[in-house]
Amino acid sequence: MAETPSGGPAGDPQGERLPPMQLLLDNPFLLLFIGVAVPAVLYTIWGVMEVAQIPVAQ
């Protein structure tokens, strides 16, 4: 199925360009990327680094 220039079915019949935010919200895989990358970096990776940096008692 050929993708139209404005992004497949996301493009409207008049060939008008859709606003970027709407393109983002219409794309579940971009959302999936955001939803995994943001917490992975800010919560998990940062958190694990915090724990790893706890010093050893003398």
């Binding site: 983002l24 919200l25 955001i34 939803g35 800010l42 919560y43 694990v48």
Partner: protein
Amino acid sequence: MANAAAFRVCPETGLKVCHHAEILIKANAVVAVVFLAIGGLFGLLVALTRWPAVHILPADLFYLALTAHGADVLLFWIIFFEIAVLYFASAVLLNSRLAAPKWAWFAFALMLVGALMANVAVLQGESSVMFTSYVPMKAAPHFYLGLIVFAVGALIACFVFFGTLVIARQERTYEGSIPLVTFGAVTAAVIAVYTIASGAIILIPTFLWSVGIIPHLDSIMYKVVWWGMGHSSQQINVSAHVAVWYAIAAMVLGAKPLSEKVSRTAFLLYIAFLQLASAHHLLVDPGISSSWKVFNTSYAIYLAVLGSMIHGMSVPGAIEAAQRRRGLTQGAFDWLRRAPWGNPAFSGMVLSVIMFGFLGGISGVVLGTEQLNLIMHNTLYVPGHFHATVVAGTTLAFMAITYLVVPLIFRKEIMFPGMARWQPYLFGLGAMGISFFMMGAGTLGVSRRHWDMTFADAVLKFEYPPAAFLMMGLNGISALLATLGGIMFIVIVVGSVFFGKPRDEAAIKRNPVIGPSGGAAVSQYGGEATFNLPGTTILVAVFFVSFVLYYFINWKYLSEVWPLR
């Protein structure tokens, strides 16, 4: 087409319903309800044990029942039901065939086997570790294995959902953007992927440790990663039940979101920031910096709370707008007074919105404030809070939509309609009671997960204040109410599904479940702009004032405890 899918056209909504999707929705929903029944029964036993005058279970069985309760309701009931919601929101709402039905069945089988394995492990008595299973306390290996198998199944189901979105788009089964409810389901599924990935990262090593392959696990590291799963899975619930709120408002009242842009942006805030709140569980743990705690516990400056506050306005706003359009324009609250309060789908949804917002939402933000957590961590305030979110909020919302799923998907008439009318109120009242009284006892310091608040067998002595005992008695009574409401739900659902009258043409005419959609008027954008929404404005203002007051009251409490640095 690889899977020549059979469809039927729903006589009530006009949607094309894929045959595979339909039976998978049924299977997942039925198993979900079975786990709710089992888990709810354990919940009752737990609550009766915590009622000092009753104290029904011995200590070992109490901890066993508490572990089973947490796992069966929080994981199995909710996630099975969510998978049903995902299939509904993708295949059914998009008029599409379900992607890879064989995989969907495989996912279902894995989830079922995993859930049973974990239950067997708990009932054997060697795995009373609570569903959080903090290391280095050790459960039997098949407890962890069960959870892993269950999670793998759920992950596959999420990919079936994403696959269905792709198919629907390629086959152009819908025009333009996906519906808002489907978008909410996308939010839930995205969060589910992160949740399950975190679960795999932590549970697989824990399983290997339990069989002796890995010698040591770090207990703080475990908590950080485990809560990436444990808390995020609650955020799946939030996204799913908000989607369910919108769906019920649309089906029963023809309500249309005030603005697609605002509601979808609110879901985007969930996708990006909601999972950070997993940090709520580490606020009083050693060695983690306050920067990490403050940033993550506040969902990056409360952006996900902003999302919830937006939904908290747009759901009632959409209902008010729909009702006013129908001519209920008198005063601020005529639209609310004359809403279909006898329809359990509607009443359950409204109670869910109110209790989730006022009880669950406010208490959650307070509990998740870095310093305030010091006066609440691991007290009964915590289960009090999450019974408001996950029982009064999610469970009640899922019960409410079941009253639409039974006629539309199972195509059965609701049995015992008189009982169904009252069920949401009874269950809602009970759920509100258990949340409220556990929060009260927690404010007085009572520990969660604790068999004996009198400390009768301890070497030293201590007594909680008498008010705390009163709270636990009232909690027990509320538990009885909630259980009664739960039993009514199960009786109605099981009765209707297995013994109910098939829903024929006549029944559809007599007793429509899809409300008068108002036709064109509803589907025109801009209608709302001409309406003022005074009722919603007042509700939101009351909510905001309660929130601010309660928030600062707790800082006052905190300022009275011993100084700490």
